[in-house]
């Protein structure tokens, strides 16, 4: 393994020299999805379509993608994490402007924190983004979400652009944001944006139970409390074009204070826990094409995350813990065009993570992760393929004994190889049809919490192993009729297998003693379908419709002995994964008006792989409606939007005992310079 490593390091240094001068190949368009986005096209929401959704955060928008389940604890400040294809949320990598958002502590990214305010597009890839000019870390997740922030855009002859938005509505929401773009020179532009969010987070919720004859047993309505949030986001960006490339730099700051509303249980209708977060990162990347055949990207990132959790409730355990994480990340990728239609790339990443806390018996873990990815792609005729191999080397060190720091630090090392292959084929007829598939094996490194958390961590954990197989087809039609202007259908069937899944199990004497172990095993069969159509039935009326459907059969194979009866977990559907879920979304544009309607359905679930009535969680479905009016201004653009979410006021839960908001409103006023 050491030899492979040193080889990678040598390549990293030498590749630019090895590249030969040759005639330049045709420029690859950034907007050309098929080349830039990889062998298999992602699901994507962008631009006006994204902004038209009744969605506050990136997590809300992801509900309209097939295969996605959101764990949503409710409210403006509630945690929202994403699970794609039942693999577990920690298998989904989230990338912001090209570089991954890390959380070495627990591997979870709360996508409820990323508002759609400054977002250009969201793309979701199952497997990985199968392109070549990307960091090694982009090969290292079971699925990837790419969030791209808005790049500066200027009207002809203008040096300045900007926008101001104010959102207000239910939950005491006050959410102003401001953005200014400035063109410094012809090739360099700057952008600054800031957003502030306040919400008191209060909403009414109702629980009710009936007798089996339909008469009322009990009915109670209460107000959700302790869901208030203050959050400030500020971003600075610089974008530059060079003669043979481009660069960008970004600084991101997020500061928030929020209440944690907690579970609603008998005799406890409010909680008082609070959390403070401060996230800062600085990142930059440079992409160059010194010759026609050779391109490279180099990027760097520094991130500092602070989190404080306070439980001031003295009837419970008083906790006031702070956690600080730091990450340094360097990556470089080299892409060589060997022959027309044949490219190869090498990516090498180095990442360093630390975690510290004021917790007692803390192990102060640090981790160096070296990753190297070799990838090649070919394309001839209608055939495209990519194969990649990722090498991961992780070196951890941590305090040997939390009680006796003088005993020094222990080390831990894992290495893993992860292969992946992506194929797609466009037959000559019928036109617009594409058949695609992929197979991938990937590991999830245990997080710092899994390994080193006081008491429950288990330093002997192995990485979690995920195998993915996918076969699908998409069909893109550009009908000749004038009414339907575009139609696209996509269907994918897949099988995922998670083994050595990291789960907590009881240990030791009495009470609740947990320890992380590698005993979980899950088999997932799934089917996803998406249809998208653009229609122009009347002059000045444009319709866009989008529908997705997901079928998931995700079963727990961890404990073959636990198969006694219905209560057995063996072969039970895993927690919070519905068999059926789907969404429908329609946009209608007519003159100065836009109307958006969306419907989301998440089928029945269980909160545990023991699928008994006590663990049953009802399906939920919500209707959201929004109407936008664009003011007829001559030089600038302005609009007003009114949203009504959960139109039928359904009282539902995504997570048991975490009631979601009923009908709620939002008013958005927008002005573009």
């Amino acid at each position: 393994m050491k030899r492979i490593l040193s080889l990678l390091m040598v390549c990293l240094c030498c590749l630019p020299i090895l590249a030969q001068q040759v005639d330049s190949l045709p420029e690859v368009e950034v907007t050309a999805l098929r080349t830039d986005a990889g062998v298999i096209a992602p699901q994507e929401l962008s631009g006006a379509r994204l902004q038209g959704l009744a969605a506050h955060s990136v997590a809300d928008a992801l509900r309209y993608f097939s295969g996605v389940q959101i764990k949503d604890y409710g409210g403006v400040g509630g945690i929202k994490t994403v699970d794609l294809r039942s693999m577990g949320s920690q298998h989904t990598g989230v990338f912001y402007d090209g570089l991954q958002l890390g959380n070495a502590q627990n591997g979870q990214i709360d996508l409820g924190r990323y508002s759609l305010d400054n977002i250009e597009s969201i793309r979701l890839y199952a497997g990985q983004k199968s392109s070549l000019l990307q960091p090694a870390r982009d090969y290292a997740s079971g699925a990837s979400i790419y969030i791209r922030s808005l790049e500066p855009r200027f009207a002809e002859g203008s040096r300045v652009a900007g926008s101001a938005v104010v959102r207000t509505g239910s939950f005491g929401l006050i959410n102003p944001s401001l953005r200014v773009d400035y063109r410094l020179t012809d090739s360099i532009s700057l952008t600054a944006s800031a957003e502030y969010t306040y919400a008191n987070g209060r909403y009414k919720f109702r629980y009710r139970k009936m007798f089996s004859d339909g008469t009322l047993a009990w009915d109670t309505t209460a107000t959700r409390r302790n869901g208030q949030i203050h959050a400030l986001r500020a971003e600075l960006g610089a974008y530059g074009h060079l003669r043979r490339g481009k660069w960008q730099a970004k600084a991101y700051f997020y500061d928030s204070s929020r209440g944690i509303p907690g579970a609603i249980v008998n005799n406890v209708w409010k909680n008082s826990q609070r959390q403070w977060d401060r996230n800062f990162f600085l990142q930059g990347s440079l992409e160059l094409r010194p010759t026609g055949r050779y391109r490279f990207v180099a990027s760097a990132k520094y991130a500092h995350d602070y989190m404080r959790y306070l439980n001031p409730d003295t009837t419970l355990l008083y906790i006031d813990n702070t956690f600080r994480q730091q990450e340094i990340y360097l990556t470089t990728t080299h892409l060589l065009s060997i022959l027309p239609g044949w490219e190869a790339s090498l990516a090498v990443d180095w990442q360093y993570n630390t975690l510290s806390s004021n917790m007692a018996a803390f192990l102060y873990p640090r981790r160096h992760t070296l990753q190297g990815a070799l990838a090649t792609s070919v394309s001839f005729g209608g055939f495209r393929g990519q194969a990649s191999l990722l090498l991961t080397e992780a070196f951890d060190n941590f305090l040997t004994s939390p009680m006796a720091p003088e005993q020094g630090r222990s080390t831990r090392h894992v290495d893993r190889l992860s292969p992946a292959i992506f194929l797609s084929w466009r037959p000559s007829a019928p036109d617009g049809l594409e058949v695609h598939g992929f197979a991938k094996n990937i590991y999830r490194l245990p997080t710092f919490n899994d390994l080193y958390y006081t008491d429950i961590g288990n330093a002997s954990l192995k990485p979690e192993n995920l195998s993915q197989y996918d076969l699908g087809a998409s069909w893109q039609l550009l009908p000749s009729t004038t009414c339907v202007t575009a139609l696209q259908l996509t269907v994918d069937g897949y099988y995922n297998h998670v083994k050595d899944k990291i789960i907590a199990v009881p240990r030791g004497t009495g009470q609740y003693r947990w320890m992380m172990t590698n005993i979980g095993k899950v088999h997932i069969w799934g089917l996803e379908a998406a249809a998208e159509a653009s229609l122009a039935p009347l002059s000045e009326l444009n319709l866009h419709l989008r529908a997705t459907y997901t079928l998931q059969d995700a079963r727990d194979y961890s404990d073959p002995a636990d198969n006694a009866d219905a209560a057995g977990t063996y072969r039970g559907q895993i927690a919070y994964i519905p068999r059926h879920s789907f969404s429908i979304n329609g946009d209608a544009d007519w003159r100065a008006f836009s109307l958006n309607y969306s419907f989301i359905y998440v089928g029945e679930r269980w909160d545990n792989s023991s699928n008994i009535p006590e663990n049953y969680v009802q399906p939920w479905y919500t209707h959201d409606l929004s109407l936008t009016y664009r003011l007829p201004l001559r030089r600038h653009r302005a609009s007003a939007t009114l949203e009504i979410n959960n139109l039928l006021n359904q009282q539902y839960e995504v997570i048991r005992n975490y009631p979601m908001p009923g009908r709620n409103f939002r008013l958005i006023l927008r002005f573009d310079l």
Partner: protein, 369 residues
């Protein structure tokens, strides 16, 4: 084309819609054979994992040999959110059944005949209960807060008049008191200090009933848990250890000689005293332990009272009870803490008679005369 778009609408019709939430219907499971003695049955309190609100009550009827799961909601259909979150203790005193519901911060008081709710006593972070002379004594973690160099909070024992269900007095004890027992005219309270990791408590508080003030703190070992008082004036205290260097143990404290008279290196998650024999169950780092101790001689009578070898099938031994007349032994398995557990019944000779599925984390058994 539009056919494709109607497909999801069709699916909506096929997919299940929401329906009213129906109160839990108890499930009757014929289990074992009738045992006709003066003991009519027993209640089982399932803790339910924290935050799930899945604390449930089961009942086994010795006359009909029926195990009935989840009876609380049917007996009390008008109580919002049912029994609550994390049941921590269960006892019958007089005609009433008392369930200590830890994370719902209450003692649920029910009629011992049918589990109908009589009332509740609000005690934050309540843990264990014991009775004497018309009063209930309940340990609670949530005593007064001290801001010394470190934040710390002592626990207390609440004295509840069982006639009025009012708290009449409080007695401050050590940090995070768990088990409580009455020996002679004194209450003994095991202070765990479980919130003070790694600086656990190591004392047993003695509270004379006459004054209801802590008379002394008796140092034993760290992280004390359960307390059982026998008829020889001895107080048996289990200790969890610290999961690092200090192993779990069982300590015998002689309240007359006022000293520790025996210590066993044993993991003990539950204890039950039956006719002078102290039964203990526990999960060690390796195997489970099912050990019976003679309280008169303080020696091990039986180092595996599950004689038929089925004890190893239990993942997490959690609840323990012995039938007061037949001597049948009941041991529960909490399994993963997240899924339903099991209750196993053994003859007094230690061979398994029956098993039945329970709620999540079956933990506390109370026999009903």
């Amino acid at each position: 084309m539009t056919r494709f778009l109607f497909l999801p609408l069709l699916l909506l019709l096929l997919a299940s819609c929401r329906h009213d939430d129906i109160i839990y219907i108890p499930e009757d499971v014929p289990t074992g054979e009738p045992v006709l003695t003066s003991v009519r049955g027993f209640y089982m309190l399932n803790e339910g994992n924290m935050g799930t609100n899945k604390c449930t009550l089961d009942y086994y009827d010795f006359q009909t040999a029926n195990y009935t799961r989840n009876i609380y909601a049917a007996a009390n259909p008008n109580v919002p959110k049912e029994l609550g979150d994390v049941g921590n203790d269960l006892k019958i005193y007089g005609s009433k059944l008392y369930a200590v519901i830890n994370c719902s911060n209450k003692i649920e008081v029910m009629d011992a005949r049918d589990a109908r709710r009589v009332g509740q006593v609000d005690i934050p972070n309540c843990r264990s209960i014991v009775f004497h002379g018309g009063y209930a004594y309940v340990t609670s973690y949530a005593g007064p807060v001290e801001i010394r160099p470190d934040y710390s909070q002592l626990g207390y024992v609440a004295k509840i008049d069982t006639a009025t269900l009012q708290i009449v007095d409080r007695c401050i004890v050590g940090y995070q008191p768990d088990g409580i027992a009455l020996s002679g005219e004194d209450l003994y309270v095991a202070n765990s200090g479980g919130y003070r990791v790694p600086n656990y408590e190591n004392t047993l508080s003695r509270i004379p009933l006459s004054t209801f003030r802590e008379a002394e703190k008796i140092p034993l070992t760290i992280n004390l848990d359960n307390v059982v008082a026998d008829s020889h004036g001895q107080v048996w205290v289990s200790a969890r250890g610290d999961y690092y260097g200090v192993t779990p143990s069982l300590v015998c404290y002689d309240s007359r000689k006022r000293r520790v008279t025996a210590t066993f290196s044993l993991p003990v998650s539950a204890m039950w005293l039956h006719e002078g024999t102290l039964f203990t169950i526990g999960k060690g780092e390796g195997a489970n332990s099912f050990i019976a101790i003679d309280t008169a001689t303080r020696t091990i009578l039986n180092d595996n009272f599950i004689a038929d070898g089925t004890g190893d099938e239990i993942k997490v031994p959690y609840a323990l009870a012995v039938h007061p007349i037949t001597g049948d032994i009941y041991v529960s398995d909490a399994r993963t803490y997240l899924n339903p557990g099991y209750l196993h019944c053994y003859t007094s000779g230690g061979s398994r008679m029956w098993s039945v599925r329970t709620g999540d984390i079956p933990a506390h058994i109370a026999f009903r005369e």
